[in-house]
Amino acid sequence: MRTCAESFDGYILRSLGREHGERLLPRGLDITLCDQIFLIASGLIWNIYFAALAIGFGFFLATGVALAKFSTNRWISRPAAGFVFFFRGTPLFIQFFFFYSAFVLLPRTGLDIPLGFTTLSIHTAPLTTAAVGGLIVLILNTTAYSAELFHGALRATPKGDLEAADAYGMTGWTKFRRVVWPNMLRLAWPSYTNEAIFLTHSTTLVFLSAFPARQQSGEAFYYARYFVDQTFNPFIAYPLVALYFILLTLFIIGLFGFINIRLNRHLPRERRQRIRFRPQYVR
């Protein structure tokens, strides 16, 4: 039997690959409680990787898509609305399957897109890995949901604020950056917090669908499921992964709550928006 310290050494970084710890995962009767604690914790590296990058990229893309959808030009607003409709109307789980089976059909040598003056080469091989392909699906998905939230917030921008901006002679980029965007964020922030939590929870689906786990490097829930399959005992691994996710959720609420305070600090106290801990389920 391994000691706890050996489990820690062997598995705490195992999700990064077999070079970073034990070559093989523990099997059958050999599994100890510490193995489960550390290997599942190790998987969290991937959950955080997927969540942080998807939310990071998705945030900026969503701002763009929301503005496009809000545009009065049909040629811009229609495609944006279609994008949002498609990704919000279909299950993420099947989006993973679909994009994976589409990505594998791309030529492995790479795509060359002639742009006239130069040729753009796209390396398609990484697209079939979870780290890149799975991340792209998550980014597209969260972009659609966040864009819908931001779009709703854009529509609710206080008229007075816009009039005030006009009165100051602000136009274009300055008006957007100093009036529209901060207002949009402030109004959408409580729901956006919720979206960030949902997205983080959705990272558990990446390896459950089509994307294969290379050398058994997966996220936390992948390992929890592995342990339950091995031990046939759901009462250790699943509560463990649940506990980790509660901690992760609390962290997100704390972080986003802090940003929320900053977004609202200019307002008189009674008009400040608070993050509701029982928000509407918008996903």
Partner: protein
């Protein structure tokens, strides 16, 4: 299906496809869409009942009950739903077997959990030893439905609780002033009016529920995802209809199915919202009243 399909290798393209799309496996694929609908039909009322119980618990004046309600709602919210979908069926299954084991085989001397096995006596096995495949499927499906109801019950509890709070307080006070008890005021005043406040939240949850149904696949139920993957995979000449990897088309079909389902639900909820708003003291209700006048 068609008489021409006896030797598909010799058929021209369009007939080959007509035969291919009507094979036994394809009918199993089409039937699996009904499983999705069935799950929705079973889970919706169950989850609503769970949600109602949860909301009442949240409202309760008895502190332990309130605490229980809050624990339930926040636990489900803090944990990815997939954890519950996989945990509940297996834990509940083992729990039922454990109870039956103690009922039927009290003099069993071996431990139930031996190493990595969960062993109960023959009489306590669920589904029972020798049950038909159909009964097993029903059992697995029921377990899945319970797991779904538990998760969505918590979501609904939150929404319903919010909706109850949203009913104007003055109305409840008026009712109590008329001598109604707390229960009477709730049944006669809050209950009929809360739905219009709950509807936007409920419609969101319904959409989430629709989009969670493919997770049935992970519970070993042969749903649409299972068949899409199975039918789409490359088939060698051992099969009557050999073809290369077509999974992308099957998943495309699934995406379109779900897109249609969520689109249809959205329209349905918009219509329902109009109906419920009639005579309500909300902006929409006021608009409808003016339009009629």
């Amino acid at each position: 299906m068609f008489s021409i399909c006896t030797n598909p290798a010799l058929l021209p393209d369009w007939q080959w496809f007509a035969c291919y799309l009507t094979t036994g496996t394809h009918f199993a694929f089409y039937r699996s869409f009904l499983v999705v609908i069935l799950l929705l039909a079973v889970v919706a009322p169950l989850a609503l009942a769970m949600g109602m119980a949860g909301a009442l618990a949240l409202r309760s004046r008895f502190a332990p009950v309130t605490l229980l309600g809050r624990g339930y709602v926040n636990l489900v919210r803090g944990v990815p739903d997939i954890v519950f979908f996989l945990f509940v069926p297996i834990a509940l299954g083992q729990g039922i077997e454990w109870v039956l084991h103690h009922l039927y085989c009290p003099d069993w001397d071996q431990p139930i959990r031996q190493g990595n096995d969960f062993i109960v006596c023959r009489e306590a096995r669920m589904p029972p030893v020798g049950a038909s495949a159909w009964a097993r499927n029903v059992y697995a499906f029921t377990m899945a439905a319970i797991a779904f109801s538990l998760v969505f019950g918590a979501f609904i509890a939150n929404t319903l609780h919010g909706a109850m709070q949203a009913v104007p307080r003055a109305q409840v006070e008026t009712a109590e002033a008329y001598g109604m008890t707390r229960g009477q005021a709730f049944r006669r005043i809050v209950m009929p009016q809360m739905w219009v406040f709950a509807l936007p939240g409920l419609s969101n949850i319904w959409q989430i529920l629709i989009k969670s149904t493919p997770l049935l696949f992970l519970l070993g139920i042969q749903d649409a995802v299972f068949w899409a993957r199975e039918l789409g995979g490359a088939k060698t000449s051992l099969f009557a209809y050999p073809h290369p990897d077509w999974r992308v088309w099957y998943f495309m079909a699934l995406l379109l199915f779900y897109l249609f389902l969520t689109w249809l639900s959205e329209r349905g909820f918009t219509a329902l919202n109009r109906r419920l708003s009639r005579g309500q003291s909300t902006a929409e209700g006021e608009r409808l009243r003016k339009a009629a006048a």
